[in-house]
């Protein structure tokens, strides 16, 4: 708007087209297609990094400039089509807020004051500090927070350095409860990308899982096909999600009462004998005890808890049974909700087991993978002390590092002091609940180094900031995730980094060399490393560079096709009744506890995804911000009238502990229950270097001064905060 009037003004004034030389000018897209005739287009296959799904993609460069990115048709995740974030991913390349060179802090921690330095200087400081902490406290006192594939080489350097305190928010803040709940039941978890056979399911039950807003590409594609072919869809959500709009049954559940609903469903299925008896006889353990335990949980019992009519509960239970085993109760992904999440996930696992859907077509398939040997490195030193995240095995079923556990250890100094953090590609101020605790932990550190692409909130707290080149400018390790059909995919540079940014492998290798750990990097550069691995897997690196993806031979992925029906549980069966849980003092079959209703007059704060953004990492991407530049707070339309707010009014949210949010617009809507509000996670940035994002919308994390820890695995339930709404003056 301003730009337009300014341009017009200039045109009238000067009689010619004068481009305004502003910041945003850097963000101008490639020139229109009419120039295409004379231009040279180069197409480079790679894979996307805007989220962890890692879809195969092909980037186009026109006349030397990054033009667009599309799905790679060979790729089994994208099937040639990216999600909006992937398509808009090129915006990350011309993001005007990118870090351009290494930075060293010149004032106190937390104040954004920096000096630009060379890589040599910056990495010398990092190596020196790491050596100091190693000699003062031992290498375990240096922790790595990382997220995504890009962190592989950094992890390698840190392991070589001698620490096992390596953690990701994807466990305790994301899919940990689900993975634990399923592992307790099947001895294996739903994996990422999830083993959900949405493609073939005839009945799909979504509990939360807001596919269509949660844009994990393959799932959304398959979900849309399922809708198209008329699959029966049941959505349980306090909010009328996009997925709910596709559903045959929409169950507007009272937040936090899903276990009651799950128990009631199981009750109906057991009492009406709708389950897959043959399957359970063959693979199940402890079914009779389980059947006993769920007996009291009738739909009538669940009704006052969940607000779902008994008849609806019965109808949906029967609907699920009608299509089994092609009935998929989606395991969800972000499952840290109420602190009883591993048990809720276990209930979901059990409902699937009743349907006989694990290992069956239309349920959950068995992942297929290629044998891709790891590069032969020297063995890592054995740390003197065990990891610090879960002292005394407090959370007995945690099978990965608990990020918030490392944070606790950093604050308390127990079981031993943590004095250094390296943070790679995770914005801890946003991804860990209770930012004040994160900041307290940071204040206890001797040294914090952050590797990021933009001056994120966490980078603002660092002593040294290292700028990484973005995914379109670098090689990364191979994509080797097991999937329906095994394959490997390659990320390779499409364009050069615009300034002094470096790829993670270079940073990891150079740092290792400075730490005297050069022996852990026997290869000259990453191409040599990748070529070695690809060759070791029996494939051609040249082909991989050309095609981006190499598919392996199809393998059986269903029991009926010959996939191995093995269960890595104590009983080697599907555990309807879990003796190991019982021995550890937990409920062997999930039980329901009523959620805390919160202070009167307040709304439970719920949150989720917008299809065009990823967490807190896309708000400086000019292309994606153009689609949605701020979040809004969803408020039931009747409540909005009661409170006197109109759609679009700006408000602030105040949580139960008095924390006041940034201003945020009200979305007054018939799409949400009256007892909760909802917002998209990732907005409301405060780091002033994020010029395109700062102050736009509000942050859910900021309002999460409370969280409820899952006693089984240490996950942080985040749906336990309540807010009131104040007009913005």
């Amino acid at each position: 708007m301003n730009q337009l009037s300014r341009r017009r003004f200039l045109k009238i004034g000067a009689g010619s087209i004068v481009a305004s030389a502003g910041l945003r000018q850097a963000a101008r897209l490639a020139e229109p297609a009419r120039a295409a005739a004379q231009s040279v287009v180069r197409r480079v296959p790679t894979f996307c990094n805007i989220c962890f799904w890692e879809c195969g993609a092909i980037a186009s460069v026109r006349d030397g400039k990054l033009w667009k990115i599309e799905g790679n048709p060979l790729d089994p995740l994208s099937h040639g089509r990216l999600c909006p974030r992937g398509t808009g991913g090129i915006g990350a390349q011309f993001d005007p807020d990118r870090l351009r060179s290494p930075l060293i802090r010149v004032s106190h921690r937390g104040e954004d004051k920096w000096k630009a330095v060379t890589w040599e200087e910056a990495l010398n400081v990092v190596a020196e500090k790491m050596q100091k902490i190693k000699s003062d406290y031992g290498p375990e006192s240096f922790a790595l927070f990382t997220h995504s594939l890009g962190g592989r080489f950094i992890q390698h350097t840190m392991r070589a350095y001698g620490t096992e305190n390596i953690t990701e928010p994807s466990f305790a803040q994301c899919r940990g409860p689900r993975d634990v709940g399923f592992t307790l039941t099947y001895g294996d978890d739903p994996r990422s990308p999830e083993r959900t056979d949405i493609e073939n399911a005839q009945c799909i039950v979504l509990i939360g899982s807001h596919l269509g807003e949660n844009m994990h590409n393959t799932q959304v594609q398959e979900f849309a096909h399922a809708v198209g072919r008329g699959a029966s869809i049941i959505v349980v959500d306090p909010r009328f999600s996009v997925a709910a709009s596709k559903a045959k049954y929409y169950l507007p559940i009272k937040p936090g009462t899903d276990i009651a609903l799950l128990l009631a469903w199981m009750n109906v299925i057991v009492s009406e004998k709708l389950y897959d008896k043959e399957y359970i006889d063959k693979y199940g353990f402890g079914f009779d005890q389980f059947a006993q335990i769920v007996q009291p949980y009738t739909p009538e019992w669940a009704y006052p808890e969940t607000g779902i009519e008994p008849e609806t509960i019965r109808a949906t239970a029967r609907e699920m049974a009608r299509y089994r085993p092609a009935t998929l109760i989606h395991p969800g992904r972000h499952t840290n909700w109420y602190g009883d999440d591993a048990q809720r996930s276990r209930a979901i696992a059990l409902l699937n087991a009743l349907m006989g859907s694990w290992g069956r077509k239309g349920g959950l398939w068995m992942p297929a993978s290629l044998d891709i040997p790891a590069y032969p490195y020297p063995p890592y030193p054995k740390p003197a002390r065990p990891a610090a995240d879960n002292p005394g095995n407090k959370y007995p079923f945690a099978d990965q590092s608990i990020s918030t556990g490392i944070r606790d250890a950093t604050i308390s100094g127990q079981p031993y002091p943590i004095k250094g953090w390296m943070v790679y590609s995770t914005n801890l101020i946003y991804s860990l609940p209770s930012p004040p605790e994160t900041i307290r932990a940071i204040q206890n550190l001797d040294f914090l180094v952050v590797i990021d692409t933009v001056p994120s909130e966490i980078a603002g707290w660092a002593d040294v900031v290292l700028p990484e080149s973005i995914y379109l400018e670098r090689y990364d390790d191979l994509h080797t995730n097991p999937f329906k059909q095994p394959y490997i995919a390659l990320r390779q540079p499409v364009v050069d980094a615009p300034a002094d940014q470096k790829p993670n492998w270079w940073i990891a290798k150079t740092l290792a060399e400075k730490l005297g750990l050069g022996a852990y990097y026997p290869w000259k550069d990453i191409e040599e490393y990748l070529a070695w691995r690809v060759k070791a897997a029996g494939c051609s690196f040249e082909q991989l560079k050309r095609d981006g993806v190499i598919l392996g031979a199809k393998q059986p992925i269903y029991f009926d096709e010959g996939a191995a029906a093995t269960f890595d549980t104590p009983s080697k069966k599907i555990e309807f009744y879990s003796v190991q849980l019982q021995r550890a003092g937990f409920d062997p079959v999930p039980k329901y506890t009523r959620p805390d209703p919160g202070p009167p007059g307040s709304y439970r704060l719920l949150y989720g995804r917008a299809p065009m953004h990823t967490f807190s990492r896309t708000q400086t991407n000019p292309l994606l911000m153009d689609l949605e530049s701020e979040n809004s707070v969803w408020l039931n339309a009747t409540e909005a009238v009661r409170l006197g707010f109109k759609n679009g009014d700006y408000v602030r949210l105040r949580n139960q502990d008095g924390v006041l949010s940034n201003r945020i617009a009200v979305k007054a809507t018939e799409r949400i229950r009256p007892d909760c509000v909802y917002m998209v996670h990732g907005f409301g940035h405060t780091a002033k270097g994020l010029r395109g994002a700062v102050g736009k919308g509000a942050s859910d994390t900021q309002l999460m001064t409370r969280y409820k820890t899952d006693p089984l695995m240490g996950g942080t339930g985040l749906h336990v905060n309540f807010v009131t709404i104040e007009p913005e003056v």
Partner: protein
Amino acid sequence: MMPLTELTVSRHNPLVDPSLHIWGWQIAVYLFLGGLVAGLMIIAGVRLIAIRPSQREALVCCTIGPIVGLTGLSLGMFTLFLDLSHKLHVWRLYTTFQITSPMSWGSWILLLVYPALVANGLAHLPEAIPALARRFPVIVTWSDFILAREWLVVAIGLSNMLVGIALGIYTGILLGTFGARPLWNSAILGPLFLLSGLSIAAATLHGILIIHTPDDERPTFADFLLSSLTKLIEAHPLDPKVGPVLAGADNSFLTIEAALLILFLIGNTTSTSVHQQAASLLLGGPYTAIFWVFVIGMGIVIPLILQSLELANRIRHTLAPSIFVILGGLALRFVLVYAGQQSHWLEALNR
């Protein structure tokens, strides 16, 4: 079907969202000036054919009118030009004629206006502004050339009338053909803007006549300007023989205009709900106050009353009704240009 409760549109194009505002004062002023010029042309044409040079009123209509018209037209074309967003390409208007496009018609009509007005103005210019004729004697030659040929006088008068009518109707049709904007989408806009243009023109000429009284027999241009200024402040008695013609004409134009406006509103309110919603912009929405106070009250009712009193010799002729009519005509175009852009087939409930 369940009631529509929310409509959310993600588009956010400048000038288009949340509601269209592509045209601002430039177009309102352009339409106003277009109407004025149209009215001036028609009156000039009529008076040229019927003129008796002794009548000052006719001289003003025939000569000052065209001069004001030429100025207004140029100004109007300039404001139109100001509105164009791809200005350097403006010549493209004149490399084509698009038969279905009122704007194309309009741009060609505008080209016809210049010669017609110039010819009309020339015919009696020596009598009307003798000082000018003394300075440029060639004017007398041209005037003589025209007046010596009866057929030419009639042709010039008729062409001014015809082009004027076309221009006046065009300013309304321009908006009236936009089916996409329900408020505008009415065949009445053409005649309405024509009549409004006539009333503005009559009021303008009436005003000029008041300023340009007989004691300025042979003024220089500077004298004329100066005396005009003083007469803006003090009302003057008007030659009783000439003023009433224009005041009376203006009153008839205003009356027909009022009738057309009522028809326009009735048309909208009795049409589809979309049109009703559009009319409610004027009848019970953001533009209601401006519409009733400035367009109807100030622009039509008050001048009608004042001029009726003038005609009945109850009060003296003053500039007031002229100014009111002119401002009312301007307000009419502002209101219609702005409100029309807001009227839409889809009422966005949730923006």
